[in-house]
C-alpha cells in the first residue's frame, strides 16, 4: 500500500513538473510541446539577453533572443530531422529544463524548472554546464549552444544587421536541370527547355567573381 501511494505521489509530481503551468506559445507548434517551447524561449533570453548584467543594452547591432522566434525556428527544423535525431534533440531540451533536480541552481528556488528560474539563476546553471568537469555535461552544453546559435542567426534580421545575409544568386540553367526534377516532382514537371540552357547571359560560370559590397546592396 505504501509503495502504491509513493508511486502515485511520484507520478503526480512528475506530471506537474513536466506538464503543468507552461504558457501557450505565441504561434501554434507542430512538434514542440509547451514545455520545450518555454525552455527555448528562456534559453534564448539567457544566451542572447536584451541587457547585460549592468542593465545596459547587450548589443547595439543584434536583436535580443526574446525578439527572435526560436521555438518556431526549432519546430520547423525538427520537422526536417529523422525521428531518432528529433527525439535526441527534444530529450536534450528537456534535460536542461529539468536538470535542477540533479544539479540545482543557487539561492531560493534552486530546484525550479529552468524556464521558471530568475535570469541570474539561469546564467549560473548554463555556466555550470559549460565549465563542468564532467565531459558529457560539457558535450551536452556544446550541442545545446550550437542549436541555439544556429536558430538565433537563422533569423535573417540578425544576419542582415551584421552585413552577412546570404547573397541573391541566380543559378544558371545547366544540362542536368533538363533531366533532374526538383525533389518530390516527376520529370514531366521540369519546366526548363533547351532554350533556357542556351539563353545568353544566364551562364554564371563565365560571370565575374561576386566581389565587392556593391553587388550585395
Amino acid at each position: 500500500m505504501f509503495i502504491l501511494v509513493a508511486l502515485i505521489v511520484l507520478l503526480a509530481f512528475a506530471f506537474v513538473r513536466l506538464r503543468v503551468g507552461y504558457p501557450v506559445p505565441d504561434r501554434p507548434l507542430v512538434i514542440l510541446t509547451r514545455a520545450e517551447a518555454a525552455f527555448l524561449a528562456a534559453a534564448a533570453a539567457t544566451f542572447f539577453p536584451a541587457l547585460d548584467e549592468d542593465g545596459r543594452a547587450a548589443s547595439k547591432v543584434l536583436r535580443p533572443g526574446e525578439a527572435v522566434d526560436l521555438p518556431g525556428y526549432m519546430d520547423d527544423y525538427l520537422g526536417q530531422l529523422p525521428k531518432r535525431q528529433r527525439f535526441q534533440i527534444r530529450a536534450l531540451l528537456m534535460l536542461f529544463e529539468q536538470s535542477s533536480v540533479v544539479f540545482p541552481a543557487r539561492g531560493l528556488g534552486a530546484f525550479k524548472r529552468f524556464s521558471s528560474m530568475s535570469p541570474a539563476q539561469q546564467r549560473h546553471v548554463m555556466h555550470a554546464w559549460a565549465e563542468s568537469r564532467l565531459y558529457l555535461r560539457r558535450v551536452a552544453f556544446i550541442a545545446l549552444k550550437a542549436l541555439l546559435v544556429l536558430g538565433y542567426l537563422g533569423d535573417d534580421t540578425n544576419l542582415r544587421a551584421l552585413g552577412l545575409a546570404p547573397w541573391e544568386i541566380e543559378s544558371p540553367v545547366i544540362e542536368t536541370d533538363l533531366i533532374y526534377p526538383s525533389i518530390g516532382a516527376r520529370p514531366e514537371q521540369i519546366a526548363f527547355t533547351l532554350e533556357d540552357l542556351a539563353a545568353p547571359g544566364v551562364d554564371a560560370r563565365s560571370a565575374p567573381p561576386l566581389r565587392g559590397v556593391e553587388e550585395r546592396t
Partner: protein
Amino acid sequence: MRAEALSTREAEGEIRVFAQYERDFVEEADVVVVGSGPSGSVVTYELAKAGHRVLLVEEGPPFTPKDFRIDGNVSMARTMREGGLRSTTGTFMPVMQAICLGGASLINSAMCVRPPKFVFDDWSTRFDLERTTRGDLDPHYDAVGEFLGIAPTPDAVQGRRNMLFREGCDALGYSSEPVPRNVQGCRGSGECFTGCRPRAKQSMDISYIPEAMKLGARVLTSLQVQRVLGTRRRVWGVEGQVVEPFTGRASHAFRINARLVVLAAGCMATPVLLQRSGDLANESRQVGQNLQFHPGCAVAGVFPDEVDPLFGATQSYHSLDFLREGFKLETMWSSPAALAVRTPGMGADLLRHLGELPRTVIWDAIGSTHRSVGSVRARSEGLDPVIRWSLNEDDAKLMLRAVHVLTEIFFAAGAEKVMPGVHGLPEEITSTLGAQAIGDHPIRPRDLVMASSHVFCTTRMHGDAAKGVVDEIGRCHGFDNLFIADTGIFPRCPSVNPMYTVMALAHRQAQAIREQI
C-alpha cells in the same frame, strides 16, 4: 573530354527519381554500383565508357538549386545522414556523410589534393601494396584531373580571408599555396557546403554522372540497398527498398541482378552493408575495423578591420608544410550561423563575439591521427552505424600543436585576438606571448572540440588477405566479382583531403574491372 549536351542526343542512359517507382521491380546489369559519391561515379563512368551495362544505385535524391537551403542547419538536415547529427561515441565528434546524388561532392568544398610520395611509400611498405606508389597512381590522378578541370584557385576569387592565411604563412616562413579544386568558373560565393548555386563546382551529379548517362549508364535514385546477394565466394546482385527523400519511408522492393557488384556506399555504410549481408567478405575479421578519421579543429581569429568574409572560395588556401609532422592547415568558411557555433561565451559576451563576425576569419587543421582507431558496426536495425572511436593522447597533443601553429599564423597575419576553442585554454588570446600558453597546456583528448568529414579504413586494402578486406585494386579477397571503391579501402588516413585519391583509386579499379570482364 565531355560529350555533347544530354538533351541534344539520343541518350541510352536514364535517371529515375522517387516519384517514378510504382511497383516492386527487378533489373539486370553487367555491373551494379552502390553509391554515387566520387568513387562510385568514377567507376560508373569508366565502365560505361568501356561499353558495359552499368546501373548506378543511390539512396539519396538528385538536388537542383531549388532544393538547396542556405541555412546551414536545414541544409545539413536535408543533405546529410542522420540529419547531419551523426557522431562518434567514445570521444564525441560530429561526423558528416552525405545522402544525395553525387555523395559528399555535392556539399564538399571541392579541394583536390594529391598526397605526397611519403604517404604512399608508407602504404606500400606497411600494407604489402607494391603497386600503390605515387608513381603508380599519378596517371589516374591526371585522368580525373583533366576530366574535372582541377586547377589551383585563382587569386580573383580568394577573397580577403583566404589571402590573410597566405600573408600569415609568408610572415612566418611557412609554405602555403592556393588549393586545386574541381570547379569551373568559381565566383567565390563561399557556400560550397550548402550546394553551389553558381553551378561552378563540378560535383559528381553534374559532371561524371551525366557523362556516364550519355554513355548508357542508368541511374536509379532513392534506392536503399539493404543486402548484397551472394555466397562466400561469389555475388550476383543487390536488393533493397525504394525510400522517400528526407523521410526515408519505404515504398517498394527491388532486386538488381548483376555479374559484378561495386560497393561505393561510403566508409560508414559499406561495412554495415557487408555485415547485414551475412558478414560477407569478412574472413579477415577486418570489416568495420581500423576506422580512422582526419579530425578537424577550427580556430577563429578577429582582425581589426572587416574582412568581407562572405566573399571568397570556401576553402582555397592551405599549407602542406606540416604534413610530415601529421597535420594540414587550411582556410575555411561556412554559413555564418554554422561558424558562429564555435563562438565563445554566453549572454552579452556571446553577443559581443557575434558582433565581431564580419571581422572574423576561421581556419582549421586536420590531423593524421593514425594512433586513434575505432570501429563501425550495424545497429540492431536499419543501416545507420554505431561508430566507436576515441582520440589517443598523443594524437590530442598533435591536434593541440596544430591549433598552436594556426594561432601563430593568425597573429602574424595581423589578428588582434584568437579564439582557440580548446577547453581549459583562455577563450581569447590577445598576443603571441599568450599563444605560448597553448604549447604548454596539458591537453586531454576530451578538451578538444572537433568535427570530421574524412573517414577511412573500415574495409582496408592489404596485400595479405588475412589482414585486409580488399586487394590493391579494391577486389574483396576471395571474390572475383565483389569490389569496394569508397574511402573505406584506404589502408591509413592519407594526410590530405581524400576525394581526389578515392577518385584516382576508382579510376584504377575501373581499368582493372574492364580487363576482367
